[in-house]
Symmetry: C2
Subunit: 347 residues, 2 copies
């Protein structure tokens, strides 16, 4: 059960010790900004002054969405399976950035519609062949939700036990900006129209149509929902697995590096259910999808990079990952004022 994944609070004393170690490095206090914050956070999570951010693994969850039948996406559902084949072939953006930044990838079939052969890099956890159409019924049953959450948590925990210090979360699923939008609406009460954007490429008319569809979907369950109820209602399976994976990563004592809009929706649900996971979570990048800004405000998060990305697949997490390596190198390798014989500020 997900409740078996206990999360230890990060100790304030570990954070304070890290800050003290950072403040004697040869630089004006605070002058490395977010890099200092990252270093402090990783030290806190690892309860050490010698933090490490590698090896790292990207868990890339893919699944399909029944709501696509209503016309919420510019792309057909078959693209989900085709892109998973592309991931397995090594030719997608996620593969390229993973190689470029030294991150291993596992690809998880959380519920795609298409069929794929066996492949050593493919983890088969197809809970159902795409979610149900949430216009008419819950995207998944309570049992399916629990399976997805628990599998995600167990997978992340296993990756940490195998030595990974950072677990990056990414996804692929035609239609999943709709799920993310509905989740943000249901969990935090934001308006559908403010949240909705072009996803993977709708034009203005398409965005308006998407808003109308999503407003109809949410009318089936008006008002705020508990995060797990929202996940069951709106899916997707890949989002539920990512939510579980964030809890599993935190439970195992590693950093969860969250990609853009969809992965942040998973984090939103995970952190609402398990606030202690917040200290273990790093939001990698600010997505161009308009709802992401609102979601980050609701969570109180400030993503590391902002490069107008709107691809998903974990690409933003992979591009931000070197910053974690640099943050650890900073605290491990920089000289102190004393060791380097550098004078202090004039007072």
């Amino acid at each position: 059960m997900l409740s078996d994944f206990h999360i230890n609070p990060v100790s304030k004393s570990a954070l304070d010790k890290a800050q003290a170690a950072i403040d004697i490095k040869t630089k004006p206090p605070g002058s490395l900004g977010r890099i200092e914050e990252l270093a402090r956070q990783i030290c806190g999570v690892q309860n050490t002054l010698s933090p490490v951010a590698g090896p790292a693994k990207l868990l890339l969850f893919a699944a399909d969405h029944g709501l696509v039948a209503e016309g919420v996406s510019a792309w057909p559902s078959e693209v989900t399976t085709q892109m998973v084949a592309n991931f397995l072939g090594g030719g997608a953006a996620a593969n390229v950035f993973a190689r470029s930044n030294g991150v291993e990838i596992s690809i998880i079939d959380a519920g795609i519609i298409g069929e794929l052969g066996f492949h050593p890099d493919l983890i088969r956890a197809n809970i159902r062949k795409g979610t149900a159409n949430s216009m008419h019924e819950d995207a998944m049953s309570a049992d399916e939700l629990n399976q997805a959450l628990e599998f995600g948590a167990a997978l992340a925990k296993s990756a940490v036990e195998n030595g990974n210090k950072v677990i990056a979360l990414g996804e692929m699923g035609i239609g999943n900006t709709s799920s993310a939008t509905l989740l943000a609406h249901a969990v935090h009460g934001m308006g559908i129209a403010e949240l909705t954007g072009p996803g993977a490429g709708l034009d203005d008319a398409g965005v308006n149509q998407k808003i109308q569809i999503l407003e109809k979907v949410m009318a089936r369950k008006p008002g705020r929902l508990q995060p797990m109820d929202a996940l069951q209602a709106y899916g997707g399976l890949e989002i539920a697995m990512m939510a579980g994976a964030i809890i599993g990563t935190a439970s195992a004592g590693a950093i969860a590096l969250v990609d853009g809009f969809i992965a942040s929706a998973a984090a939103m649900c995970a952190l609402a259910a398990r606030p202690d996971a917040t200290a273990y979570t790093v939001f990698a990048h600010r997505s161009k999808e308009p709802g992401h800004r609102l979601m980050m405000e609701a969570i109180g998060a400030d993503p590391l990079i902002d490069l107008d990305l709107r691809l998903g697949e974990g690409t933003g997490a992979l591009l931000a990952y070197p910053l974690l390596l640099n943050a650890c190198a900073m605290i491990n390798e920089m000289a102190t004022f004393e060791s380097a014989g550098v004078s202090g500020k004039e007072t």
Copy 2:
């Protein structure tokens, strides 16, 4: 002479070919945002569809500032020399991030006051022991300015001829936020009070005092100045060398990766004098120093990352550098829709 460093305009056809190659990759068009822009720019500069961003070298220029005598900095001038020793010892933030991101460093004494022994990583180009105090006279003579510009250009050109594809520009010089502020004022007409910030650590009273001092300095040469006249008036030697290095890098056909506030002041002068260098220049990060935002607006630049950094030394350039590697990997390694058998958008 600096005018010997001819800059070839980047061809629109090379940029268009790069864009076409990016648009058939397996991702929604434009969904990799700034990474696509970077890839296009590097392709254009190298006139290729197989761009490379490595090896890269950081040129780290250090010099002292006569204006420090007026009380513009929270730190004494001797820290410049001490920090150069720290660079040579490998313990500064720039060293750590350079190692972490696979970038080589050359440290250039462009005009520090202190004495340093010989060191294999130290390039000795001490034009004078610190600039003159610009409160009373020009920071340097026309001849010294030309020496600094030409040496910077020649050094960068040589680094490119030795195989480097990216030249990162960084600096160290107690007092140099004052020079950068005065340059932005003189070249673009921005107000001293809007531009001035804490530099390496002034408190509010210190910032107010700095504003008063800088307003007195600029009163000696009221009105707008040509960029090279401004450099001569306000320095510093490290800024002039960086300006030359940007022109030399562009002339040699490589990417100039510009660090924060001070390096951007150098770029502002270089690009005002030689607009063709703009296509070769990448602004790495948005500094926390308030004047940097104004400077970027004046140049029309949008830096890649924004991590509340205010250290200098090239640290922001080094942290942004992996994005250039990723941009090249994207165009070199990603599959196309056709090669991967992925369906297009529904129309």
